[in-house]
């Protein structure tokens, strides 16, 4: 006869990725799920990846949702936010605007659809920090790639739970990013970012 409680309750967690156009959300998810980095230029379709993981000894089904950044998809983005456990806000280090938009655009949208959700700030394309061409290009408009400290400061100001850095192209920090996001999604309590919790996984 069936013994009650022998089956472990299956836990599902939903991670939604958002951020400016072309900051590498889809690439990040592609590498996270398939390990393949594609060079295709394609605005993402709403994609849902599913992956099983063991976080702190517990089986978790993690679904990762990719969103489109264009204005007209804001609503459908919001629909996804509304039941997310954690939101990965992404920006590209070679695009300062994408970092600014975290504050000015994405935070607003997230707040509207899902206030008080746990946010993880992710810096993407970290390999471009050392890329000569990128540095040159940014220098022409009197800019430099976004620094770790700057990202961290933004993370603090938006009350992010974690600040992570990774490069999908070189597959650096991607798995850690996934793990951390899943962990945050699992953790019940809402914790603020403290100094020792930030990690630079890339550098």
């Amino acid at each position: 006869m069936a013994i009650c409680g022998d089956e472990q309750k299956h836990i599902n967690r939903k991670i939604v990725v958002c951020g400016d156009y072309q900051c590498g959300k889809t690439s990040l998810l592609n590498v996270m799920t398939t390990g393949y980095f594609g060079q295709l230029y394609e605005p993402a379709v709403f994609d849902c990846h599913y992956r099983d993981a063991t976080i702190d000894g517990q089986e978790v089904g993690v679904s990762m949702v990719d969103t489109k950044s264009t204005d007209e998809h804001e609503h459908s983005c919001g629909v996804h936010f509304s039941n997310a456990h954690v939101i990965l806000m992404c920006f590209a280090v070679d695009n300062r605007e994408s970092l600014d938009n975290i504050m000015y655009r994405w935070l607003d949208i997230v707040q509207e659809y899902r206030p008080n959700v746990k946010i993880v700030l992710v810096a993407l394309k970290c390999d471009l920090r050392d890329d000569e061409a990128t540095i040159m290009k940014l220098q022409q408009i009197n800019q430099h790639p976004v620094l770790y400290e700057e990202g961290l400061a933004t993370a603090r100001s938006i009350n992010a739970v974690r600040y992570l850095e990774c490069s999908a192209k070189h597959n650096r920090g991607v798995n850690e990013c996934f793990e951390q996001a899943a962990k945050v999604a699992m953790s019940g309590k809402y914790r603020l970012l403290r100094k020792n919790q930030c990690r630079s996984l890339c550098s």
Binding site: M1, A2, C4, Y21, Q22, Y41, E42, P43, V45, F46, C48, K68, S69, T70, D71, E72, H73, H75, S76, V79, H80, S82, N83, D108, I109, E112
Partner: protein
């Protein structure tokens, strides 16, 4: 009991296999079973009344007795019967084990009959008189071998092929229904459908069944059962069993207790049976159970010992705060005199009506203000009238931490309206921005701000101040909506001014009405308006916009200035994109234009200046074009056609059919845009823009079609088809031309 035979023929109730056991041998040895009829020794002839088997209940460590014909079980050894001791077989052989499980799976059924009481079945006469014995059972937490089985065992039910059962419980049940004639007469029928629905929900552990059962073999009387059930709880019933019983009011209210108790029990039993179904072959009894439920005659309601719930609407209404609100919320106001042909009401009467509308709201949501030495209550009418003084308390009941904001907002409103002198270095627009921000971020403040403005517009002696007040309304009605509670009152308040011609109030109030309707469906804006936007909002009543309006209205508007057959903003923006080298700029339509530039261009167009000067980025007009489409009062392809678009997303003929049904303006715009987008699918262009037809279709789909659904799965599912529809349109643009 002296055995006069060596072998007993046993039919495995589950597999229908016949095997032979030697009970005597089992007493001495480990139990002996044969599949073939043994050659030596005598075989016990079948008893017409059914054989009695002695089986072992592991949980209570007691033997019990099972009748193969009636399926009943007894704690007490039946007298004058031939008893086949199968305890050893049960304990030692796998067949025996399974058998005991099967028996236990029958457990649920007898209860119905026992408690029913109305059907005198044979087993009731045989039911043990000793109540204490089974009542030792409540500790049973597993339902294995609980000896309360007295299911009518008819071979047919047990004959059901196992595979059939496993396939789905439903097929099994259906099967059983057709076979159910044997006992259908004396078993009451209970509406099975709602019940079955409940029963399919997983998650109820088998325990409730077992713990709910023990009382039953002994009772056999419906009236006792109710008590027994109640009493049992303190004993051994686990929480789960409580759950089962808690279900009771939902399904079985107003039936007699015996029946009430059947429900949770049988529910539990079916569930547990289903559970076991999935696990092993044990659940042969499931169809029995369900059949029993289905076929029982309805119990007589007249003898119900528990009074049925009486519907007392008055009391319910009195206790329900929501209802109270609803009673008042229907304002018995005569239909608003919005139409032009109705003569204006006398000012006094009009005022009274206004008063009434706002007053109804005030009564419910306003805080009480007290004043003077004796702290007398300030009458509501007073609170709702223009004042040049500041207020000492928010008008509405607000959280403590918002009081300061409320007082500040009132001061600002007075300043904007010119009722209070303004400190230097401050501007009305800044104050308006503060109000907007306050409303966007603090939900509670929204109504407070609306009410404060209404208050200041009420009985205001200064016409300049009134004008400014309406301007505030113009601005805040495109920024945040009032709450649902206030909505109807505010609407009423605004409508009352539709007929007031002095001070251009009719124009303004109409504008505010339409904006109010829009903001209520769309929700608050995310961003605070810029100064330019605020200025624009103030002018909006007198300079109609091309944004956020219906196409019909836009065409009417431009009819005097141009003879173009589509809104001129469309070709203007499209040409701007092309002029600014949009055909060869990477990520055109995907990359958003700079937000400030887009707003600037929008304001420019709203003010009637179709002027491309100063814009260098093709993404700015591209973004604005998409925004204009999205912002139309009605989607370009009407919502009523949404479904057919999704359905025929890849069929151009059907798509043409849909588009043909649209009004002419919409059709022309669709054509124009399809043409326009085709230019971007040129391979030369896609090489640089990297926006192939799929990408373009995806970006433009939500601008053409608006998904009317809120649910995640629908939005998710449909976005694919929306994209496909757009792709069909773009790829077949020449075909569209021919056919439209």
């Amino acid at each position: 009991m002296v055995a006069t035979y060596d072998w007993v023929e046993i039919i495995d109730p589950q597999s229908k296999d016949t095997f032979f056991a030697n009970p005597l041998a089992t007493l001495q040895m480990t139990g002996e079973c044969l599949w073939q009829r043994p050659e030596t020794g005598t075989t016990k002839p079948e008893d017409p009344e059914g054989d009695w088997w002695e089986l072992w209940d592991e949980n209570n460590q007691l033997p019990y007795y099972y009748n193969t014909l009636t399926g009943s079980t007894e704690w007490v050894r039946p007298e004058n019967k031939v008893i086949i001791p199968l305890m050893k077989i049960q304990q030692n052989s796998s067949i025996g084990k399974r058998m005991s499980d099967i028996l236990s799976a029958h457990n649920d059924a007898p209860n119905f009959q026992d408690q029913k009481g109305s059907v005198p079945l044979e087993h009731q006469q045989r039911s043990p008189s000793d109540v204490s014995n089974p009542s030792a059972q409540p500790n049973t937490t597993s339902f294995e071998a609980t000896p309360s089985v007295n299911v009518k065992r008819h071979s047919r039910s047990l004959d059901l092929p196992v595979s059939d059962m496993k396939d789905s419980e439903w097929s099994g049940i259906r099967h059983q229904r057709s076979n159910s004639d044997t006992i259908s007469k004396d078993i009451p029928s209970v509406a099975a459908t709602p019940f079955m629905e409940v029963s399919t929900s997983p998650g109820l552990a088998p325990e409730p069944l077992a713990s709910a059962l023990p009382a039953s073999p002994s009772t056999g009387n419906s009236s006792i059962f109710g008590i027994a059930l109640g009493r049992k709880q303190p004993f051994g019933a686990r929480k789960q069993s409580l759950r089962g019983i808690e279900q009771l009011p939902e399904t079985t209210r107003s039936t007699k207790p015996a029946r009430q108790s059947q429900f949770p029990l049988s529910r539990a039993s079916i569930e547990s049976a289903f559970q076991s179904l999935t696990k092993s072959y044990r659940s042969n009894s499931t169809p029995n159970v369900s059949k029993n439920i289905e076929t029982k005659p309805l119990p007589k309601r007249s003898i119900s010992p528990i009074s049925e719930p009486v519907v007392n609407t008055e009391a319910a209404a009195a206790m329900n705060p929501l209802n109270q609100a609803n009673h008042d919320a229907v304002p018995p106001i005569p239909p608003p005199h919005a139409k032009k042909d109705i003569p204006t009401l006398p000012v006094n009467l009009q005022r009274e009506i206004t008063q009434f509308a706002i007053d109804g709201f005030a009564q419910k949501y306003f805080s009480t203000h007290k004043k003077g030495l004796f702290r007398r209550k300030v009458p509501r009418e007073k609170m709702l009238q223009w004042t040049k003084d500041s207020i000492k308390q928010p008008l509405m009941i607000l959280n403590k931490d918002l009081h300061k904001d409320a007082l500040k907002s009132f001061k600002l409103i007075q300043m904007i309206m010119g009722d209070r002198s303004r400190p230097r270095n401050s501007s009305a627009n800044e104050d308006l921005q503060w109000l907007c921000n306050c409303g966007i971020t603090k939900g509670q403040m929204r109504d407070e701000i609306y009410v404060q403005v209404c208050k200041q517009l009420n009985n205001n002696p200064n016409s300049w101040s009134v004008l400014k007040g309406w301007e505030i309304l113009c601005v805040i009605t495109i920024t945040f909506p009032p709450s649902k509670n206030l909505e109807s009152y505010l609407d009423e308040f605004v409508k009352q001014h539709h007929t007031v011609t002095d001070n251009k109030m009719d124009v303004m109030s109409r504008h505010v009405s339409s904006k109010l309707e829009r903001i209520c469906t769309r929700g608050a804006k995310g961003k605070v308006l810029t100064f330019a936007e605020i200025e624009r909002a103030k002018d909006a009543p007198f300079k109609p916009s091309v944004f956020g309006e219906s196409l019909e209205f836009i065409m009417e508007q431009q009819a005097s200035t141009t003879d173009m057959d589509i809104p001129k903003i469309v070709p203007f923006l499209a040409n701007m994109v092309l002029d600014l080298n949009g055909l060869y700029s990477e990520g055109i339509f995907r990359v958003p234009g700079d937000a400030d530039d887009v707003t600037e261009l929008r304001i420019r167009i709203e003010n009637g200046r179709y002027d491309a000067a100063g814009v260098t980025d093709p993404n700015v007009p591209a973004s604005l074009l998409k925004y204009w489409l999205r912002d139309l009062a009605e989607p370009l392809i009407f919502t009523e056609f949404y479904e057919s678009c999704i359905k025929h997303s890849e069929n151009i003929d059907q798509a043409i059919e849909v588009i043909r049904q649209l009004p002419e303006v919409n059709r022309r715009i669709v054509l124009y845009l399809a043409d326009f987008l085709t230019k971007f699918t040129d391979p030369e262009s896609t090489k640089l823009t990297r926006m192939n037809v799929n990408n373009l279709a995806m970006v433009f789909a939500p601008n053409f079609l608006r998904c009317p659904y809120e649910s995640l799965t629908q939005v998710f599912e449909n976005s694919k088809w929306e994209q496909a529809f757009l792709r069909t349109l773009i790829e077949n643009a020449p075909l569209l031309h021919e056919n439209l």
